[in-house]
Symmetry: C2
Subunit: 491 residues, 2 copies
């Protein structure tokens, strides 16, 4: 590859964009702020979807589908929610185009096809779903409702970045309805737990679980739980949220149920979601200056085989060995690709699969054949070893596990190294600007102090972690603090 | 069940709506023309998706995702396509709501947030995709591109019916790019073949494969191939289409490639799609007056078990037998549900699973236990048999296959009985109005005659079938005809 790419140290943001481009994951589209997810990027998203979907079903949820559009009158029913999303929503006002008489071949919006009521393209679906749940719930016997939806949503963001912040994105949104506050709260916690498990065991991305401050809550929620991950530039990325919605939506949409004793009450609600943003998190957690690094559990191709040959006979013979391996790996559930393309040189292929983050690359030449060996290269450590072809399949299964664990451990070490405990505002400010990273600091619990920190440092309180750290005094005001919070700059 | 439902004979249309309601598949939403797909309906759609996705991947396609919105200037680039969809598209004109000052708590469209260029909510994605492909294709080495997308689309239909015609629907759309006309045409045919195989082998729905007449083609296509199925009221339902787009979109979006000899040419294209309309086809092909009937291959629950008990001991003992069975069925890949609910009587459950179309229902009481037997009821034939519990798992696998085949055969017999060959326009008109069904008739190939038939009978030429039937003379004009076409009323 002759092109020179940016390193993380030189320009992290450029490196991020180039890593996406080199791995052929996605690109900006001809529509402002919207991305095209290319086949390789989408294949990773499919792995993410499949695993999460399995975990949702194992915790008793079913999928369903609700409309893309929300009539304005429904959208505004829950006032806080409406207020929170009103400034960034795409609005459908007409339902027909017509030929421009002054300009044949061009189309204009037909003024006679104006909708009586405007439709909001869903930025999130609480409104349309709770308007539907109203018809489904009469008695405690109809509860709980445990539904998830895989969908596209639109939020008209002014500054967009592929995967991290796009006008349209793909996500899943769980929407559950419960008879009691406690049950709804347990669901909120359970789903945060599912997200944390997915992040750590599949994305190999350590996360801090906690609760958002009031000012960072989801619009319309009584409580927002979140998982926060540290990217390689020390900034935080909110990777998933689970909201306890109290009775807010049930009240806004008048959803009541009769309990087992005949008493009428409003229903309790949760919602929770993760999005294609996780793709950004995945990229920024593991990748290096040579391109994407993928944890094996989410890699569309886990192992790639490259033949090194000069003659057709060699090509044939090596091909046979790889075919033999392919069958064994298929039986073991390992996703393997044999790159038999004769028009690309091995060096080109090595660079290609490196940029695409394939966890293990195998190479075999005539001498390896003779010796019954094969070269095994790890993407994560960039190390190579020559191993016996005999028993290679089992060796690869072990190796993929090792890579998965190594990536998690590496990311955890990085976070440990960049998670600082500070006691004074001065130290916080100095270190934040010099070192970045996460800061465990005491905060007095007021919105004023939170706003001051944000204004003066651009850092935000990412969460009030579940793991308690003892009492103290606020680093800014000196007032009492019940526990340390996590503060950092964020995506 | 005390409620009286409509039969097919009494009111086919009402029966269709009630079947959907009784099986809890979907419902109309608070948004004009948009439906909510409920969990059980969505579970069937997931089975359809999973199987089609597998077949697309086996034929070399990859999934990707393109934006929901199409800027107006891109939308109008391919004129015929634009003209075809202009009259039924939802248009986003603004990107922000604001508080109504005259009416606090209410929101209005912010006139200052008007988009410079309107965005069309995709009714189909050729325009946005070909605008993207332009950046991906330079040389023959970049071809073919074989991509599929699972997405929602919006067509502002005035008269809507759940699954059959909704303003928003879910679908997949394949979009491929090729170096030669022949290769593109072969792809068009291959994907129609995939649809036909899916319809017949999975939906148990026989289809006629053919070509649309020019006036029924997809807007922007040079040729549209289709599969047409016969519903139980004798009307046709177009179940899938595969379009040969020629170089129309490549020319509209200026997508050229250098061939292996260095010559520059426009790229050849196909697109193909099936939608949640298939759910409507599935319902109308097999269901009866007692509710939904599902082919086992697409049934979310293939076998359901119901305990018949009076005492807790009986309940426990029967439960154990069903647990034993559940393990065996899981190993065989049979989807089994044991309904252990103590609050519902067996009769209620029987009616419930009948309405939901579960292919096989098992019932076991204390006497069956004693005798080592179980009652097996088939949904398709409404027959019951008592069989030995020993070897039940293998028996069920065979039975599910038999049901799948029986449903296909039954639908095929129905179609055979209702597919008529006619030679005069008089006979056609008389029989069409009396008997309905499909008619194989000669047509002179002109749009005039086609329009006349449609105007006078409301029937349309569904397709020019691939299976030739010999030459003849047009039943309307007496002019020469190369082959018979399929004519019927349609959904």
């Amino acid at each position: 590859m002759s092109q020179k790419y940016s390193t993380r140290a030189e320009d992290y943001s450029k490196w991020y964009n180039e890593t996406i481009e080199r791995a052929d994951l996605a690109e900006n589209s001809g529509v402002r702020g919207c991305m095209v997810i290319k086949p390789y990027g989408y294949a990773i998203w499919e792995k993410i979807q499949a695993q999460l979907d399995k975990m949702f079903k194992e915790t008793g949820h079913q999928n369903a589908y609700f409309p893309l559009f929300v009539p304005k009158s429904l959208f505004e029913a829950e006032e806080k929610n409406a207020e929170g999303f009103a400034k960034e929503c795409a609005i459908v006002t007409h339902y027909r185009l017509k030929t421009d008489e002054k300009n044949p071949g061009k189309l204009i919006v037909d003024p006679e096809a104006k909708l009586e009521e405007e439709l909001i393209v869903r930025p999130t679906s609480e409104a349309i779903i709770w308007n539907t749940y109203k018809g489904w719930i009469q008695s405690y016997r109809d509860l709980p409702i445990l539904i998830n939806q895989w969908a596209n949503v639109v939020r008209w963001e002014m500054r967009t970045r592929i995967f991290l912040r796009t006008a349209e994105f793909l996500w899943q949104e769980g929407h559950t309805a419960h008879a009691t506050k406690q049950e709804a709260y347990e669901e909120t916690e359970r789903m945060l737990g599912v997200y944390a498990e997915f992040a750590e065991n599949f994305m190999a991305m350590p996360v801090i679980q906690g609760r958002k401050t009031e000012s960072e809550r989801f619009a319309g929620a009584d409580d927002t739980l979140c998982i926060e991950a540290m990217m390689q530039d020390g900034k935080a990325l909110q990777a998933g949220t689970s909201h306890f919605l109290g009775q807010n939506f049930a009240k806004a949409f008048d959803v009541k149920f009769t309990d087992s004793e005949g008493k009428l009450d409003h229903v309790w609600a949760t919602s929770w979601g993760v999005s294609t943003r996780l793709m950004g998190a995945l990229i920024m957690t593991h990748s290096d200056d040579e391109g994407l690094v993928l944890p094996p559990k989410l890699a569309p191709i886990q192992v790639v085989g490259v033949p090194i040959f000069k003659t057709d006979d060699e090509y044939e013979a090596i091909g046979k060995k790889f075919d033999e391996l392919a069958l064994k790996l298929k039986a073991l559930g390992v996703s393997f690709k044999y790159d038999h393309d004769k028009n690309r040189r091995p060096g080109w292929k090595f660079a290609e699969y490196e940029a695409k983050g394939v966890p293990v690359r195998l190479a075999m030449g005539p001498r390896d054949m003779e010796n019954g060996n094969i070269e095994v290269a790890r993407r994560d450590t960039k190390t190579k070893e020559v191993v016996s072809f005999e028993g290679l399949d089992q060796h690869l299964v072990k190796l993929l596990n090792e890579i998965q664990n190594n990536l998690y451990q590496k990311a955890l070490n990085f976070r440990t190294d960049n998670l600082h405990t500070v006691d004074t505002y001065e130290e916080f400010k100095t270190r934040l600007s010099k070192e970045g990273g996460f800061y465990l600091a005491h905060w007095d619990g007021t919105a004023e102090t939170e706003a001051k920190i944000k204004e003066e440092t651009q850092a935000t309180i990412r969460c009030i972690p579940f793991e308690h750290t003892g009492e103290g005094v606020c680093m800014v005001t000196g007032k009492p603090s019940k526990q340390r919070v996590v503060i950092s700059k964020a995506y």
